[in-house]
Symmetry: C2
Subunit: 393 residues, 2 copies
């Protein structure tokens, strides 16, 4: 006897990414009407709590006393299951039921932790995201992922749990430190280079304004920067939100060599900078393959420079680059699928590692090392290289 029954477990969910007005007096209604009369728990970091969270919570709690508030001391290095459990504990204390909602106000780490907690509590409750950083508003905050580190393995434990809405108000960016603007622009350039020449042009035009003073979320170029980036990101993410449809993802641009680089630097090199160095190398590879004109390559690098994004690191050795390609192939169904720009706003995949021979990688690395003002071939900087060897070259 052989019986077999197929169960269809399709889940239909949709969510809104909304350009909202949350930071004008009495205008938090965009958040309020989504919470309505439900029980809720707002979560933020101490800094965001002080800058925005406490005021936002006060405003919500005035209309709905069942909105609780939790301040969580977080950092990328310490985001763990314990912090997710802390949110679950607060949710239990606040008597959140199945209809309740979590609200994350903050950057990627808070969003990660709250997304996971929302996914765990009573097998999944709603969560609203209010990203306050540029990376959060154009990248980390608008997808459906959340993850924490586990036993020192970065993002080993995670979930896919769509938010019920993402409320984006560029006015939050006013308080963002310049380096975090830079990290956000790195992800924006990623999306611009692979699919949106006009967005790249916008960055090119306004790079100095974006980097010289606090970002003014009332200004049209800033708002266009944010919204256009969101649209590009959503368009790329949507067909493969659960990362189970294809291994060819344009948003992987800048994300092939960067993990090894961040890890080699013990995460001293921030993700945004690592992505920039990765994009620069991938573009140099494209140029050496004859896929990208030197002019276009230089145009890209000029923008990197104006924003202060690095284009090379001695830690990105040939060995690490080749290991990263092997690792990428392992995670991308056997194909390297290196995303390389063929012009500003257009990209292709280099599918096989054989398309990227060692000699080509060496040339690309040397070019970027030289461009960054270094005379040293990057391969010298190996983890086990004794200083004597470095000196001799």
């Amino acid at each position: 006897m052989s019986h077999c029954r197929v169960v269809q477990a399709t889940r239909q969910i949709g969510y809104e990414v909304h350009m909202a007005e949350l930071l004008r007096d009495g205008s938090s209604s965009g958040l309020m009407h989504r919470v309505a009369e439900r029980r809720a728990l707002m979560v933020c970091s101490p800094t965001v709590a002080r800058l925005y969270g406490e005021a936002l919570h006060r405003e919500l709690a005035r209309e709905n006393p069942a909105v609780s508030f939790l301040v969580l001391q977080v950092s990328e290095a310490t985001k763990t299951m314990d912090q997710v459990a802390a949110v679950c504990r607060a949710a239990l204390e606040a008597k959140l039921d199945r209809r309740a909602v979590l609200i994350s106000v903050g950057g990627g780490v808070i969003s990660d932790i709250v997304t996971m907690a929302a996914s765990w509590i009573r097998r999944g409750i709603d969560h609203l995201r209010v990203p306050t950083t540029l990376v959060g508003q154009v990248d980390a905050g608008i997808g459906i992922k959340g993850a924490v580190n586990f036993e020192s393995k970065k993002n080993y434990i995670g979930v896919f749990h769509p938010p019920s809405a993402v409320l984006v108000d560029p006015r939050f960016l006013h308080s963002l430190p310049a380096r975090h603007v830079r990290f956000g622009l790195s992800e924006i350039i990623k999306i611009a280079l692979v699919r949106d020449a006009a967005l790249f042009h916008l960055v090119e035009q306004h790079a100095d304004e974006f980097m010289s003073a606090p970002l003014d979320g009332e200004r049209a170029p800033v708002r266009e920067l944010v919204w256009r980036s969101i649209l590009g990101m959503v368009d790329e993410l949507q067909p493969n939100l659960y990362e189970d449809r294809t291994y060819e993802r344009l948003v992987d641009f800048g994300h092939t060599f960067s993990p090894a680089l961040e890890s080699a630097s013990a995460y001293v090199i921030h993700h945004g900078d690592a992505v920039a160095i990765d994009m620069a190398l991938s573009s140099a590879i494209a140029t050496h393959c004859g896929l990208l004109s030197p002019d276009q390559f230089e145009r890209m690098l000029a923008v990197f420079k104006r924003i202060g994004l690095p284009t090379w690191s001695p830690l990105l050795t040939l060995e690490r680059v080749e290991c990263s390609l092997t690792e990428a192939a392992r995670h991308r169904g056997g194909c390297v699928n290196l995303v390389v720009p063929t012009a500003v706003g257009r990209a292709e995949f280099l599918r096989q590692q054989t398309e990227i021979p060692t000699s080509l990688l060496e040339s690309a690395l040397a070019r970027n090392a030289a461009g960054a003002g270094s005379k040293m071939p990057p391969r010298v900087f190996r983890r086990s290289s004794p200083p004597a060897e470095t000196a001799s070259l």
Copy 2:
């Protein structure tokens, strides 16, 4: 400016529930071909490990050395996030990648823990379920849920994470203690009463065989019992797998008063027995409403009696019954939606609490107390009085 973009986050997943042959020499191929050359981690309890797990693992590891094995000391009372973390840690040690698979072999608790771990590891990896108990094979093991207790709140933390397949081999039931057969039959009767008169007839016909000796998974009535229950369960679950489509669920039969009863007994009354007591009360209510004929009601109770399922408990006080109805309405979108049989194999919903006045509840409780040979309340449930449980029947 108001920009809004809707992201479609629909996820298409399907999985097989398969009547498999896993316990014949060299026949674990049903499991083997699903694992193939992937990395895997099999998880079971000490008892199941000794009875089946070690042998199954040996057989798999002979073909694929990348199949690891974890024995986890589990119980319903101690299933927590720590145990999920223990599986995640073992998965990390066994170098499970995104394509890897977890295999749960065992009852509901192991299945709960492994489902959660599979959902967490790298944002979700495959898991295969091999349920070894009757409840697992016809109920807990074939859905998509997993949950653990949190801060003494039962099943507060959980996930929906469809298995990639459920492999059901009734031969596992041979080692199942009689009381666990009883618990399984309670869930089977649940499905039978609300939608499958022929299944109820099968239980009626073979109740003595099912309860008198180890279940023989080679025998046709046992196999039919399991498969028919699975089909009924799958049909009921599928349209509402994520419990977000409707609050009218026939599978809630027996699950309105049972949570309070289990809790009041400090979980000394097992879920299966609590469900039976709940079904008996719901059916008595139906009879008192004139929805179920006394004949049909007596026919049901006769089967309960032959199986040894309880039909009343002094812990199920009028107060607890009324609180349960209020609680049900809170969880079922404002409606009580009490499932009551109108005949063997057919059921209806009592939607409003006003349809079930206190006087009716009192009569129904008194009827079942009398039927159980009690003058209310002659017997005291104590942790140290296990014989009392059966003595009253």
